[in-house]
């Protein structure tokens, strides 16, 4: 079921979106931005939903990935596509500093990661030589022409981020169905039970943090080359934490397509509706949604909505059967 939804979703994203929106730079750019959020949301969900480690600090990985890639391409002439990967590696390396926090229980892990993210943001602002400080980095190279396709266009960028997100979903899928995935699922509520049958719980958490940081960093790096501009307040902004959390929770606990659909829905509604209604402070809606979901449906809204929908369909069918 879940995998079918994901396949359908990817089908629409690969064929439908370019076909219908391909020549509207504004709309395709909007969907690409939503996919950037989606990428971070998938990475967040891998750690937070599958691994049970709620993080308030993914902005740190996003920022580190962005700056790593930007600096490598600008100062060292590294090709952009290589730099995207290295951006992810950079974020993974930065997550090593957070590893001591893995020993902490859930709420304290969340608080510690929040503090780490603040530290990273301050360091990025202070390390002016590397990051351009508060002034920022301008004219970061765009995505290049590759195999005859110009990925520097809005549509080209869209295809790249879509590929990145797809790769992440495939990774998520394989981790979830592996024995590692089973162990992670169980560790959430019964860590002792898993450790006593030989699960190296700490090691699994370390791996999940590395993978999640890598994914977030790569997406951050993509974003840097997509918008060609960085400043610490932007690259390390809490937005990169808040949007993905809302998207991942909205999309549904441990579902594959959830974080992506959640991100598309939330980002597009925010940009197309609320930003127009409330020019300043439209993220208020995000807060309302987050609070509302935690109280009403902590395992996600999308599954509830789809359930309602499929039940209606089933009811209709039953109705038709009776008529026939």
């Amino acid at each position: 079921m879940n995998i079918k939804i994901s396949a359908l979703m990817l089908g629409v994203m690969y064929l439908g979106v370019p076909f219908f929106l391909g020549d509207n730079d504004y709309l395709i750019g909007l969907v690409a931005s939503a996919l950037i959020i989606a990428g971070v949301a998938v990475a967040w969900a891998l750690l937070g939903n599958l691994g049970g480690m709620v993080s308030f600090g993914h902005a740190a990985f996003f920022g580190v990935g962005a700056y790593t890639s930007a600096v490598l391409t600008m100062d060292y002439g590294v090709p952009v596509f290589v730099a995207l990967v290295v951006g992810g590696v950079g974020a993974s390396l930065s997550s090593i500093f957070m590893m001591p926090a893995l020993r902490l229980r859930g709420p304290y892990f969340a608080l510690a990661i929040l503090a780490y993210a603040e530290i990273f943001k301050i360091l990025a602002t202070e390390a002016t030589g590397l990051t351009g400080g508060a002034g920022g980095l301008l004219s970061i190279p765009s995505l290049p022409v590759f195999a005859g396709v110009d990925f520097g266009t809005k549509l080209g960028g869209y295809i790249v981020i879509l590929n990145i997100v797809t790769l992440m979903l495939i990774t998520y899928y394989f981790i979830r169905r592996s024995s590692y995935g089973l162990a992670l699922k169980a560790m959430h509520d019964s860590e002792l039970a898993t450790r006593i049958v030989g699960v190296p719980a700490t090691y699994l958490k370390v791996v999940m943090l590395l993978v999640s940081a890598f994914m977030t960093g790569a997406v951050g790096a993509f974003n840097a080359h997509y918008i060609n501009f960085l400043e610490p307040d932007y690259a390390f902004s809490g937005t990169w934490t808040v949007f993905p959390i809302v998207a991942a929770i909205f999309g549904g606990y441990r579902t594959l397509s959830g974080p992506v659909l959640g991100a598309l829905f939330i980002y597009l509604v925010d940009q197309l509706v609320f930003k127009n209604l409330i020019p300043q402070g439209h993220q208020l809606i995000l807060g309302v949604m987050l609070a509302g979901m935690i109280i009403l449906s902590p395992s996600g809204l999308l599954p509830v909505i789809t359930n309602l929908f499929t039940r209606k369909k089933a009811d209709n069918k039953r109705g038709e059967a009776q008529h026939a």
């Binding site: 024995s179 089973l182 169980a186 002792l192 898993t194 006593i196």
Partner: protein
């Protein structure tokens, strides 16, 4: 194969174990008895790695296991159950055993036939797809507890009151199951149990705990005739 020497554990002011020593030979079934709070579970906790002792040493087949992490000890062949069953949440019974096989065996291989065989031997095969944390009755939870430990393919199996709380018939059946398992996989065992009859039935030797100390160690029949042992029992445990 297992050698426990001069083990002590303090919890704040509570001296849960004081200078405890005992051994388990290959293929032996050792019973641990003693009143509530005597330190039996704490001994298991030290052996399996959930509690760090204040002093003492433990060697298992030549490994100084106190230095090893919890999961390493499992791959050395030490498996245990908990007094309060600890199913892995959000997984089915079968998935519980898959995780135990995958991570508990040194080579990390998962063998479905082996899992079925274990489920069969503890009478859980019909519940293989049930949710482990929510859909099992007490006896089944205890059976899963044993099955999980077996799935790690231990050489030493430590059972913490797996028979307690069962009514007489299921107790007898489950005891027979355990004896069969022991034969089949030629295990060594340490069994914590209050019921003297069970101990006599299952164990080759007993170690008696009282107030964190070993007060007797020997043949079950002789030991239960020892006046000090009788006193610790009648004095501490309401019948």
């Amino acid at each position: 194969m297992l050698k426990v020497e001069n083990l002590s554990v303090n919890f704040g002011g509570v001296r849960a174990l004081q200078d405890v020593s005992f051994e388990v030979q290959t293929h032996e079934v050792l019973g641990l008895v003693g009143p509530n709070g005597a330190g039996k579970t704490t001994s298991f906790n030290v052996l399996s790695g959930t509690v760090r002792p204040t002093a003492g040493s433990v060697t298992y087949e030549g490994h100084d296991i106190l230095k090893s992490s919890m999961h390493q000890r499992v791959t050395f062949g030490i498996g245990r159950t908990f007094q309060i069953p600890q199913p892995m949440h959000e997984l089915s019974v079968r998935e519980n055993l898959i995780v135990a096989q995958r991570f508990g065996r040194p080579d990390g291989k998962v063998k479905q036939e082996r899992i079925d065989e274990i489920l069969e031997s503890v009478n859980l095969l019909h519940k293989a797809e049930a949710d482990a944390a929510t859909e099992l009755a007490l006896t089944e939870r205890k059976a899963l507890e044993v099955a999980k430990a077996l799935a790690t393919e231990p050489t030493l199996l430590m059972l913490d009151e797996v028979l307690a709380g069962l009514e007489t018939t299921s107790k007898k059946l489950f005891m027979q199951t355990l004896k069969n398992i022991r034969e089949k996989y030629s295990l060594s065992m340490i069994v914590i149990e209050h019921d003297i009859e069970t101990i006599m039935n299952m164990c080759d030797r007993v170690v008696v705990f009282n107030f964190g100390k070993v007060i007797a160690d020997g043949d079950p029949e002789e030991t239960f005739r020892n006046p000090e042992v009788v006193r610790s029992y009648t004095g501490e445990v309401p019948a």
